[in-house]
Structures are given as C-alpha cells and as structure tokens.
C-alpha cells in the first residue's frame, strides 16, 4: 500500500488520519439544525515519515493560529 501523501510504498507503519466533521447552524428560533452536506468524513493513510511531519506541522500551525485568534 502506498502513502496517500508522498506516494511511497509503506513498510513498517501506516497511520490512518481521519477527519470527521459535523456542522450545525443556529436557526432563527435559537435551536441548532444540522447541515447535512457539511457533515462528512475525509481520510489519508500516511507513512511514518509523512505522519511525523504532519503531526509536527499541525501542532505548530494550530498553535500559531490559536495565538492569532486570541490576539
């Protein structure tokens, strides 16, 4: 099986990363209503190198974004 990011054949590890999204909107009557087309799932299967890179970048970027939002 090949890594879905770099395309290299995976040997020792394969790490599945899944993003599950469920979205709701606040209605005029102050209740929540699901947005079905924005409730979905996506997936990558990464080799160990790509996963390590992904984890590092995600952590770094998310913290950076958090600081930006807080400011």
């Amino acid at each position: 099986m090949k890594c879905t990011f770099c395309g290299k054949e995976m040997d020792e590890f394969q790490v599945g990363v899944t993003l599950n999204i469920k979205t709701s909107r606040l209605r005029n009557d102050d209740t929540w209503e699901e947005v079905p087309n924005m409730s979905l799932s996506s997936k990558e299967v990464l080799c160990s190198d790509c996963f390590s890179e992904f984890a590092e970048v995600l952590n770094e970027q998310v913290l950076k974004a958090k600081n930006k939002v807080e400011k």
Binding site: N28, D29, P36, S41, S42
Partner: protein, 438 residues
C-alpha cells in the same frame, strides 16, 4: 474531492447548437468548438478512483453526468473513447457507477445511440412539451423530437424528460403530460422553473403561475385521475416524501439528508461538483460563468484531507446561513419542503448570493398549504402507487426509527399500520418505514 462527492457534472463543452432563451450560460458564442481533451478526462477519472480508494465512507454509487452546453457535440467517437475508458477503469477499481447525460437530443445519430446503449447511459432529455412549447429553444418540431424518443426506445435506452417551465409552455403542461405518458413508458419527468439568469427577458414565469399552472396541475391530476400509476413529476415526488416524513417524525428531515439540489443548504460544492473542459472544478454546473468565488481548485491540484474543498464549501455554508436567517426561512411553514432557491442562479444574476423570494416563496408556500389541505387524499394515493406486490410502501425517514413514529402513522392516517420488526430496512443510510393497509 471524490471521497464524499457522489455526482460530477462534467461539462464536456459549454458550446451548444441551440440558443434557449432561458439558458444560464453566458457568452455561449465564445465557446464555439470547445471540447474537453482526452488527457483531462483521463486525469479526472484517475482522480475519482484515487480519492475514493482512500475514503472512509465513499458514496455507494458514483454518478458521472455528461453535460454541457450540448454533450452530443462530442460526437460518437469521442463519447465512446471517454465512456469506454471510464467504464474499464471504474470496473477495474470496483467503483460502482452510473453514467448519465443531459442533452437536447437534436444531434442524435445511430452511432451515438449505440454508444449510449453500450455504456448504459441514462439520458435526461430537455423537452418543454408539445406544440409551441419548445419555441423558446428551437424551431425543431414535436414530430422530430418524437422520432428521437422512439429511437431511444428502440435502442432500449433508459431516458426521462426535463421540462423547464417558461412563457412558451406554461399553458400546455397538462396536454404535454398527456402526450408524454400516453406515448412513453417512462418514469416521472422533472419540471423546473425557468429563471431569467442573464436578464434576456421573455421566458420567466412568476412563482404563482408556476405553482398554479405546473405543479398544481400535476398534483390535481395525481389526485383526480383513476388508475394513476405514478406521480408524474419527480421534484414533487421527493417533496411529498419529505412532507410525510416530517409529519411522521415530527422533525424536519431536511436536517438529515445529504443532497444535491433542493435542500436548504444545497450540496453544490460538496455532494455535487462541476468540472469544466479545462479541468477547473467549481461548485456546480448552474453558474453562468467561471466566477472566482465559486472556483474550488483544478483537477490536478493536490489536497490533504480534502480540506481545500471542505473549506471552500464552508464559505458558502456561512453565506447561505446568513441569507436563511435574514429571510427568516426557519420560521416559514414551508421550510420543511422548500428548495430555498438556487444559489447558483441568484449569484449568476446578481453577482452575490441571495434568495428570490418573489419566485421561491410564491411557489412553496401555496404548495405547502395545498399539501396540508389534501394530505389524507395524497397519502392514500401515494400508498396505492408506491406499494409493492406485498402491499407495503417503504417510506424514507432518514433517521433511526423511534416507537412514537409508528403511533403517529396510525393516529394520523386511519386504516394504515406499520409492522415494526419485520419491515425496517436499515442497511443503507436511509432507514425506511414499512407502511401497510389494514
């Protein structure tokens, strides 16, 4: 992209041999001779297969719609090349698929018929009805269209009709329905309302006219005609199913359905996408031109966790949510059955997102009251036309079934009952309820 998108509107070309007054594609003359290259087509098919392979829950069936402009301008050789490639690649990769095509049919030939037959293409025929009904589109007469319909029948090709209601056919709906259903053993046709997207004028009818002279005509025929085999229009068929689902569950089933068109926040950009001949991916095929705001990416662009598409779609969700709030759609009695207008048409016409209240509310609010006033008769008639040979009507509820809903049916619709344990179908994402008559 194709991990969750289940329908691709593939514009082989934006060129067309007709110039319908109500067509929404801008500057068609600029696209003369435009045609998708085989290389681009192959890259699209490869991308579909690659994305589906890594998806957790890819949609069960992928639908590839050959669209345009006029897709038959591709000619029989190119169509065979494209469909043959897609068919072989999908089979090899286990992608369950459906091919369909939206065409005006005027360029049909024996060679094209054989391609449509060989690759089991379901054909959506644009046909506005009999007599002068097609005068907004062409001077080709009903007899010529009729020859093509017979050819489709002879080649055992599955086809249905798309009728766009406009000033030329608004007064002929019943007559056209009689003509179609007497001659052809076809499923429900689709009746859409024309929107004068390009501001040409002379085609759009009011929402009130559309309801009174098109959809209400279909519903009246359904209720009044004896031995009716089906509700003759597919949008109404979906709306009725939604209406009764909402009554039974006492919830708004719109919240639980993924869909393409006709939903409160439509699936353009998520469930359904459009690809142009140059491989650019857009929200859906109904935008009049390539707007920057509706562009998602190119078919060649890399993506991680489909995040590019998801974030672009979320942009539209936010805008549509604001529009729904401003127009107080959540508080409207027709909210549960309304299509909330086509955002693509609105954007194409006004350069921003919005809602044609004059059109949408004039159609769906009277429709809602019609359904309320006639719900028992409609329920009875639907049962008669939808029941299978065992006398069971399976109704989609989109939700896991609760005990209380069973009581709702028996209380509200006397003479009917539901056998709970035997008849629940939960193997797909749309749980169904089995309705029987006592």
């Amino acid at each position: 992209m194709f991990g969750h998108t289940n329908m691709l509107i593939l514009k082989l070309t934006r060129d067309c041999n007709l110039r319908c007054k109500y067509c929404y594609i801008k500057n068609k003359d600029n696209f003369k001779g435009e045609m998708m290259e085989f290389y681009t087509f192959k890259r699209i098919i490869q991308r579909i297969i690659k994305d589906r392979k890594k998806a957790t829950y890819p949609p069960k069936i992928f639908t590839l719609v050959l669209h345009g402009g006029e897709p038959l301008l591709a000619g029989h050789k190119k169509l065979r090349l494209f469909l043959g490639y897609a068919s072989r690649k999908f089979e090899e990769s286990g992608v369950k698929h459906r091919f369909s095509m939206q065409t005006n049919l005027t360029l049909l030939s024996t060679e094209i018929l054989s391609v449509l037959h060989d690759y089991d293409v379901t054909v959506g025929v644009s046909f506005d009805g009999i007599k002068e009904s097609n005068s907004s589109r062409t001077d080709i007469n009903t007899e010529k269209f009729d020859t093509h319909f017979r050819e489709l029948t002879d080649f055992n090709i599955n086809f249905g009709f798309l009728m766009v209601v406009n000033k030329a056919n608004i007064n002929n709906i019943a007559e056209s329905l009689d003509y179609i259903f007497k001659k052809y053993d076809t499923g429900p046709l689709k009746i859409n309302y024309a929107e004068d997207v390009l501001g040409v004028g002379g085609s759009e009818v009011t929402g009130k006219e559309f309801f009174e002279k098109a959809w209400k005509v279909v519903l009246d025929r359904f209720l009044e005609k004896e031995n009716t085999k089906q509700l003759e229009e597919s949008n109404l068929s979906n709306i009725l199913e939604r209406y009764f689902s909402n009554i039974i569950t006492k919830k708004n089933n719109i919240e639980y359905m993924r869909s393409n068109c006709g939903l409160k926040i439509c699936g353009g950009g998520s469930n359904i996408i459009e690809i142009n001949p140059d491989g650019s991916v857009h929200y859906c095929g109904r935008y009049s031109e390539d707007f920057k705001e509706t562009y998602i990416q190119n078919i060649e662009d890399e993506e991680f966790l489909e995040l590019k598409q998801i974030s672009r779609y979320f942009d539209t969700v936010k805008v549509k949510h604001k529009i729904l709030k401003e127009n107080e759609c959540d508080l409207c009695p027709a909210d549960g059955i309304c299509d909330h207008g086509c955002p693509a048409f609105y954007y194409s016409k006004y350069g921003k997102f919005g809602l044609r209240k004059d059109l949408v509310c004039e159609i769906f609010i009277p429709l809602y009251y019609y359904l309320v006033k006639n719900e028992i008769r409609l329920f009875n008639k639907l049962y008669e036309t939808k029941k299978n040979q065992d006398g069971i009507w399976y109704l989609n509820l989109h939700l896991n079934i609760e005990d209380e809903w069973i009581d709702n049916i028996t209380k509200k619709f006397k003479g009917y009952y539901v056998e709970r344990d035997k008849n629940f179908k939960t193997e797909n994402f749309n749980p169904q309820i089995a309705i029987r008559k006592k």
